[in-house]
Symmetry: C2
Subunit: 386 residues, 2 copies
């Protein structure tokens, strides 16, 4: 185990009927609230009404910033910052999934500075004293509700960049599984893929093979994300399945899974960010298209680790480490297919001739993320088997 | 999964060489520091010197409160409170294991009020604005370094009582596995037993059998506590083993394992507290003496749960649920024996004729902990098979 700092101050309120707590939790930080959300889905399922009623009952003045897209855009983030400044908002409340919460974090950071918010993403400026953030989660996927990271797409430069800062943990996040009942099957599946991808990145890029406590935590989360996703796809209103998937996705990226692993990378997200920056595919769909190929590229380099994954997650017990590793990859790929998430570039309708273009984009991000071993050749070699 | 609130604000600094951070972490809260610790062991292994040097370098004024015993005493806690008041201490720094950290928490709560500190333990008073606490952990066991609970023994009334309050999470806890290198084999084993007992309490008293995310987390922690303890007992200076045991013990009782289980109980701790209040046996030794008996008493009531435990932790795959459950209990008991931790009252040299006396003491605590189903008959029935 490597040295680490773990400090996650986010307060989680989990369960049915917890949304009405959002008002009191939010106005602790001020009455002027910027309410950030996406499209009409939260109006249709009643979450919007529950949140605004609670905020109003608590005496909040609400400034609305709707229209966040999946793969949230820099231009829209800038509008939110302008609005927050104009109205002197004291706190931001996000209702949505990772995209909404990510954009809300960027608004929190950008609303208190004079420079452009993109400078945080390119590493040219550091976060100072951001506005506090509360969230109501409506999608089990990104883990953004209990971490300090965010990803935004700059549509001018076609860059999907991310950064994290410890001042940007949400103060309070409300996780009501019922708020995810109306998520359709495809996005439920993509969400599960995203959560699993977070764990896989850590599991397979750790520099330290001696992390048995973290390994069992990660293996358990992957198994639970898969099993709960299966239950939800069989019945979209299965409360326990929704609850397990939601909590597993949150724990997948709240700092615990990576604590003690040393320097980890996000190679799958690196490549996927370029794909969704160029083609605007759903994040989870882009990930499942990349993951089997990335794993097949990586498996010969650390076969023991892949064998352990296969054994612990898929009960694969025979064969050489490389063989067991390969079985594990095939089993995961089969599960992606079962939940109808694409498992190749072809499945995303991206032609092989675009590979150099995707690689160019990813190389730029690799520089920002300080992953120098991900050069164009390597990325193209991976994409060639995706 | 049941509704829950999870909010653990403790900052963990984990790893070799982290102790010199204690000065800066502590004086954030004030220069006047009450330093709480136990016996001479931290002087012999150099931890005391590292801590005081760091505090002094940071400009702290140190008031010393040494002499905390395992099963910390109310009288000594009162002395610490008196000292903190006398010197207007602004922050408490604890160096030690669960006993030291527990007493330090009680001092933090008691130093800012006029009434006696015991009133917190009997539920007659609530914690207001306690002094902040930092800790340097020297024993992997109680989890006190990352939770808000504490246990103190009132030697006048022979009561070992505990309570928790969210204002009493340590601000920062430093976990350097090397600080546990000098813990002898017996106390290393007792520490592992304590950590495992915390998980077992939740695992077997949950009101909700549908908590698969938490189940795998708990099963993983039990396996890791056992495996890392084995490695450490083979070589007391095994850094990775010490690190895994330390982190597993912390995660066992930091709120995550219980989040979502609904109302859980501490029946094993309930009975053990009475035993160590009456006989002053090491806490972990008392626990391992009780656990197999308690499990055998409980197994017929929830055999499916015991069967799952046996399967996931000890790979027991055949037999009826009750049979598998029984195998799991026997396997755990055998492991306790292997690490030389007692597995019966006889092993603690407590005669069977003392059972009513222990039960009387435990019934009083059951009232405070609101565990009305633990009456004298039930406790005696359990002790009869311990």
């Amino acid at each position: 185990m490597q040295n680490f700092v773990f400090h996650n101050p986010t307060k989680i309120l989990f369960g049915q009927g917890t949304i009405p707590a959002i008002g009191p939790e939010t106005i602790t930080f001020g009455q002027k609230v910027l309410l950030v959300y996406g499209s009409g889905s939260i109006r249709r399922n009643g979450v919007y009404q529950q949140v605004t009623e609670s905020l109003q009952k608590s005496g909040a003045e609400i400034v609305e910033h709707p229209g966040v897209q999946s793969n949230p855009l820099l231009s829209h983030t800038r509008e939110g910052i302008k609005l927050a400044k104009q109205h002197n908002c004291q706190v931001v409340c996000a209702i949505g999934g990772g995209s909404v919460i990510d954009e809300a974090k960027a608004i929190c950071a950008g609303a208190v500075v004079d420079h452009d918010v993109w400078k945080f993403f390119t590493g040219k400026k550091s976060v100072t004293a951001p506005l506090p953030l509360t969230t109501v989660l409506t999608l089990a996927a990104s883990g953004s509700e209990m971490n300090a990271g965010m990803v935004i797409t700059n549509e001018e430069t076609r860059q999907k960049f991310g950064f994290a800062n410890k001042k940007l943990y949400p103060q309070t996040s409300i996780l009501d599984p019922e708020a995810t009942f109306t998520v359709p099957a495809d996005y439920t599946a993509y969400g599960a893929v995203d959560a699993i991808a977070h764990v896989l990145e850590f599991y397979f890029t750790t520099q330290d093979p001696a992390t048995p406590v973290q390994d069992r935590l990660m293996e358990g989360l992957i198994i639970n994300a898969m099993e709960s996703c299966d239950r939800v796809l069989a019945d979209l209103h299965n409360y326990q399945g929704r609850a397990d998937l939601m909590w597993a996705a949150t724990l997948a990226l709240n700092g615990l899974t990576a604590a003690g692993l040393g320097k980890v990378g996000f190679p799958m997200h690196l490549i996927e960010h370029s794909i969704s920056a160029l083609y605007n595919v759903p994040h989870g769909a882009g990930l499942s298209a990349i993951i089997p190929g990335w794993m097949r590229y990586q498996c010969p380099r650390t076969p023991e680790r892949f064998a352990r994954f296969a054994e612990r997650v898929f009960d694969v017990r025979s064969g050489s480490p490389a063989e067991r590793g390969a079985h594990g990859i095939t089993a995961l790929e089969a599960w992606f297919q079962k939940i109808n998430s694409p498992t190749s570039l072809h499945g995303l309708t991206i032609p092989a001739k675009d590979i150099p273009r995707i690689a160019d984009n990813a190389v730029a991000l690799a520089k920002v993320w300080r992953m120098p071993d991900y050069d164009s050749d390597r990325i193209q070699a991976i994409l060639a088997i995706c």
